[in-house]
Each structure stands twice: as C-alpha cells, then as structure tokens.
Symmetry: C2
Subunit: 385 residues, 2 copies
C-alpha cells in the first residue's frame, strides 16, 4: 500500500479515517476481483467498451488515434472523469506508436498539439486536463534527455499505460477509506447507501470511486442495500450502475432521480456517495447534474454526503465553484431515448451536464486515495504532497 500508508500515518489526526484504523475485516490488498473492463490495452491496441450500447450490447470500439479518442469521449461512448483521462492519453499512445517521426522536435510538437486538442472533447472534468499537463512536462523532460525518438515514444506510451494500473490501485484505496468511514458511523449495522450516475468500473480503469466504496462495503459483507438513481437525461444510473450492481450480485434497487427525498424519509439511508468531475480548492465539487439537488436533500435529512474522487480530480487552481466550466449538451439527450421522441415536439430544453455542489453540503467528506478529508482540509493536505 506504499505511499498511501505513509500518507495515512501523516494524516491520521487530520482526517476521518486511515489505513491504520483496521476497522475492516478485509485488508486493502484483498479488495476487488476485476470484473467489468471499460478500457482494454492489448498488444499496443486500445479498445473502449461502447457505453451507449450498454446494458443491451457489449461492444468494444477500436480507438486507433487521437481523433478516435476525442470522438468516443465527446460522444460519451466512454465517460467518467478518470476513464476520460485514461482513454485520452492512451489514444495518444496508440497514435504515437503508429506514426513515424522525423525527429524529437516533431514528436514533442505532436504530443503537445494532440493533448491540446484532446482536452477540448469535454470541458468540465479536470482529470484529462491535469494528465495532459503532466504528460507535456514529462515529454519535455524526455525531449531534453539523451534519448532516441523510439525510446521517447516508448516511455511516453508506458506512462499512459501505467495510468490504467494506477487508477485501479487508487480506486481500491478510495474504496477502503470510504468503507471505513461509513462503517465506523454505522456501528455494527449493515448499511443502506445511495449513489448517483455511474462511478464504477465503467467510469474508471476498474473498481470505481463512489461505486468502489459501495463495492468495498459489499466485499466486507456489510452492504444491506445499494440504491442508484436513474440519472437523467443519459440514464447512466439505470443503464450502467444498475448493470454493475446486477453483475456483481449486490443487493440493489433503482429509483428515479426525484425519489431520493422520499427514500430518505421512508427508509434509513446511511450515506449518499457520488463521484466528481472536478473538486476545487475550497472543496466545491462539479459532478453529474442532479448531484447538487441530492446534496441539498441529504443535508435536509441529515444523511452524510460523500464525494469520492482521486486526487487527480482535484484542481487547486480554481477558487470558486462558479469558475468551473459547465458543459451544456444537446436537447435531444433529454427529448429522445433510443431514437424515440419522448417529449412534446416544439418544447425548449435546458440540459447542463453537471452542477456544482458547495463544500458545506459535503458533510461526510471527500474520499481520496490518501484518506477522507473535510473539504476545508483539501488544500493543506494536497500542498503537503
């Protein structure tokens, strides 16, 4: 568990849980038999599970270059902030491997341009933007080293491939920390949890963030019931989260987005868990549309509200929620399902893909691979890294 044990020790007093708490029967190393794989890297080829066809069809798209990568992200054939970053970078890796470069200047220039293009596919999630910045810095360093073009391509490509493994490990830690925090509050009871959108194996390299915490609690034998919202208009909850919950045989129930308040009134909900597309310095969090309304509802019912995200989703550069760019998507995503018109012809729509949840509503905490933090602690914790 390497660096996170160290981080855990440092943070033991500051954060709500740590790897040293040992409240859970299963250790981190035993979490997560890999199941669903949304992103596959095989023999220098990239395959992405087409999430628009799920749950009815399982079909992988061969992503052959950056243009393909941009397309699958923009069309939402792959979605989820961590998955977008990985697919974006791996699409660059495929293209670099299959291109002949005159010299390192041309290679570096290509890397920079292609990364600038990739980050335009979707504006709200920060992970791809951060990965692109890191990859540019690394490429610049490699460019300055005494390396051949081929070696530089190989190293850049390895860095992209490593994102896959790193993300799974990160998610397992998030799952472990989140489980510990929630189960600690529950005493001996098994817990009932509510999640929004899809933050599972399909939104990440595997295991998941918010759904990773639910998965981890299930693996600990402590999940009484998982509830997932449909997540209109794209139905990621009904299509993808429900698919993962059924796939893993977790006790699970689907609700409509509008039923969360009634659910909290009728049945004991121990926590609401969501992912993040971007968490900023003060803890304000952009996530799938409907997250803010769920947080308002949770607060009103005194249900702890957790944001679960890798530190790669945290953007210390932005200070206020209103500064996060919010993507608005086409009307048809609301008015049509599977090519069938469901809304009255002629009606206008407002279709923001995300909303911003202010830090004060994140009452459970922000669950990262380093531990569970109060929104106000984020800044200090991350600058100490």
């Amino acid at each position: 568990v390497g660096e996170s044990s160290v981080a855990g020790a440092v943070l033991q007093e500051q954060c709500c849980s740590s790897l040293h708490g040992l409240h859970l029967p299963l250790p981190l190393s035993q979490l997560g038999k890999m199941t669903l794989q949304a992103i596959k890297w095989q023999d220098n080829q990239l395959y992405v599970l087409d999430q628009l066809l799920l749950p009815l069809e399982s079909q992988y798209i061969n992503v052959r270059d950056v243009k393909d990568g941009w397309q699958v992200i923009s069309k939402m054939q792959v979605r989820g902030a961590p998955a977008i970053a990985i697919v974006g970078c791996l699409s660059l890796a495929v293209e670099l491997i299959n291109t002949s470069f005159e010299d390192k200047d041309e290679l570096l220039d290509t890397i920079n341009k292609k990364l600038d293009y990739l980050v335009t596919a979707r504006p709200t999630a920060v992970n791809l933007q951060k990965a692109a910045e890191e990859l540019k810095a690394i490429s610049k360093k490699l460019y300055e080293d005494n390396l051949s073009v081929e070696d530089m391509v190989k190293l850049v490509s390895s860095w992209c491939q490593k994102m896959l493994d790193d993300d799974i490990n990160t998610n397992k830690k998030i799952g472990w920390f989140g489980a510990e925090s929630i189960l600690k509050s529950a005493g001996g009871r098994n817990v009932q949890l509510l999640t929004h959108c899809n933050t599972g194996s399909l939104a990440t390299a595997g295991y998941g963030t918010a759904l990773g915490v639910i998965r981890s609690i299930h693996e600990q034998g402590r999940l009484a019931q998982a509830y997932c919202t449909e997540t209109r208009p794209y139905n990621q909850g009904a299509r993808l989260t429900a698919y993962e919950l059924v796939f893993e045989k977790m006790p699970a129930t689907l609700i409509c987005d509008s039923m969360a308040a009634a659910l909290m009134n009728c049945r004991k909900i121990d926590a609401v868990l969501v992912g993040a597309d971007r968490v900023i310095r003060n803890g304000d969090t952009a996530n799938k549309i409907g997250t803010y309304q769920l947080a308002v509802t949770a607060k009103c019912h005194k249900v702890p509200f957790y944001v679960c995200a890798p530190t790669t989703s945290i953007d210390l550069n932005l200070g206020e929620g209103k500064d996060i760019p919010i993507e608005e998507r086409p009307c048809e995503e609301m008015t049509d399902i599977a090519g069938i018109r469901i809304a009255s012809p002629g009606i206008s729509c407002w279709n923001p893909a995300f909303d911003v949840t202010p830090a004060e509503l994140i009452t459970g905490g922000i669950v990262t691979e380093l531990g569970v933090f109060k929104p106000s602690e984020l800044h200090t914790i991350l600058q100490a890294q």
Copy 2:
C-alpha cells in the same frame, strides 16, 4: 363569481389574496379560452383522450361503462386527481343511462356498488372518493323522494355532467387567486415559474390547477418563463405539460427532475407550483413523486412553494401525512419507455407514484377556488363553508 366573492369577502383578512384585491388587469370572467379537452361528454357518450399516446397521437377512447372507466383510470390513460373523479362519475352515468332497472332498489344498489368499485382504481387521490360519497348521499336522497327510476337516472347523470363545468370554473378561480398572490410578491417584474407533473387541461376538466395559475399569469401578460420537469417515471411533464405549454405558445423550457436545484441557483425562480392528489387537515399534501424533493429544494433556495388544488382535493378526515395511502406502481414504468428497455436487466425498482410534502414546506400557500391559504388555516376555512 358567485359564492367565491362571498368567500373572498369573508376571508379577506385571513388569506393572502382575494377576488377583491383587483391587482390583475384581466378579471376572472375573461380567463381561459378553452383549448385542450381531455374529457368530452356528447349525446350521453363519454370520450377520454388517451394520455398514454400523447404527445405523438391524439386519440379518444369511448368509455362505455364503469368497467371501462376503472380501466382508463387504472392504466393512467386519464390521470390527475380532478379528471379521475369526473371520468369515474361520468362512466357511471353512461352505464346507468344504458341499463334497464327493475326498480329504484336495484338502481340505488347498482350506484353504490359501482362507486365502491370505481374508487379502487387508484388509491392516493381523494377527489373520486369524495365525489363517490357525495353521489351516494344524493342518490339515497333521490331514492327517498317520489321519483321514477328514469328521473332518478336523469338527475344522477346531470349531477355527474355538472362536475365538468364546475371543475373548469373552480380552476379559473384557482388560476386567478394564484396569479394574484405570485404577482403581488413580484412587484412589477414578469415571473419565472417551475411546475411538476401535469396539472393542466389534461389533468382536469379544463384550464388546470397549478398549470391554471401559470396559464392565468400568461393571460395577464406577466409570464417571463415557465419551466416544467420531465416527471419521471411517467414523463407527464415532458409529454403532457410541455404539450400544453407549446400548444398555448407560452415561453417554456423543459428540465430533468434532478435539475431543479441547479435551476434555482442559476436563474431567478419566483415560485414553484404543483397540484395535489390529497391535501389533509394539517396541510400535508400527497402529490406526484418528486414533489417533496422539489419542496425541500425550494425551501433551501427560499423560493415560495405553492400547492394548487380545488377544495375537493382536501380531506379533513386524515390528520397526518403518513396516513395517506401511497400507490406503488409496476417496475416496468421505470425500466421501459415505449416498449424499449432502458434499465439494466435484473435490477429491482422502487416505484412509489406519490410522496407526501409536509405542510411547513408549502411556504407560498395552498391555492384553492376560495383563495390562497396557509396550510394551518385550511381546517378553519373549510369548516366555515
């Protein structure tokens, strides 16, 4: 404006608005050119617009007897608390007109039994139940009078037909009172309003309750924008309310149920307006699932929340929200749209058709044909009638 002027005078000090306030340019008598008609009574025949086919097809069902009436209500081909009551009673009228009765004993017995059967079609709305009780009492009285079987059928049938006209008049008064209350708070500004589900011409005999208030504000030239929620899982907002708003050329925008909080944050919303399936003694209100969550969201954003309902929706017999029976509907309403599976196979669902909004969240007031009241005033006002 008859009895409501009197009521208005009596209530002038107690309630938030009255017909004597005269804040609106258009008087009550000039509201509502009739447009959509969900329920038609022609030559002793009953026709009901099949709302499951809207907005793509406009097709009327000929309801020939009580069994047909029960079916169209249960299948939700007609819905909306006032419309259900009217269709139920009119289906009885058709059946009585087309049946030969030996004597008044048989007639009275038939009326009682058929009404008991009709109220089982859907449990949450109280209007049909109250209409059935009233009709039973009237029938008993007619039975005791010196009337022929034929005359008794004629009078029962006329009473049912009168429900249609009465409901439209009631709705126009609701529209007028609601508009006055909302526009008074807005000063000179035009207003932006949010509504849930369908409470328009399609849910009533015509004009509508919550949508009647929006219609009335539009007729007064004061509607800046109407927002309607999709209203999952049956999409009454996207299909029916959007249809009515487009039909009447009101400035209107559709949002998903989960977007209300974000909307209130991004754009000034002057009021949220919903209908009611049953308002009880303390003001707690059962209405379409999602209403409670909207009320929580409105309270958090300090947006006035109005329940708009005829006094026939008020049930003084029940004292607590938890006593209202809440109908749970089949999973397929959530998992399938137009015969297409949209959710993952194998997932369980929770599908309550209604929820209960506690009185303290109804911050704008309860808009009835008698005026706008605080929930706590209802009991006294109605007992004084």
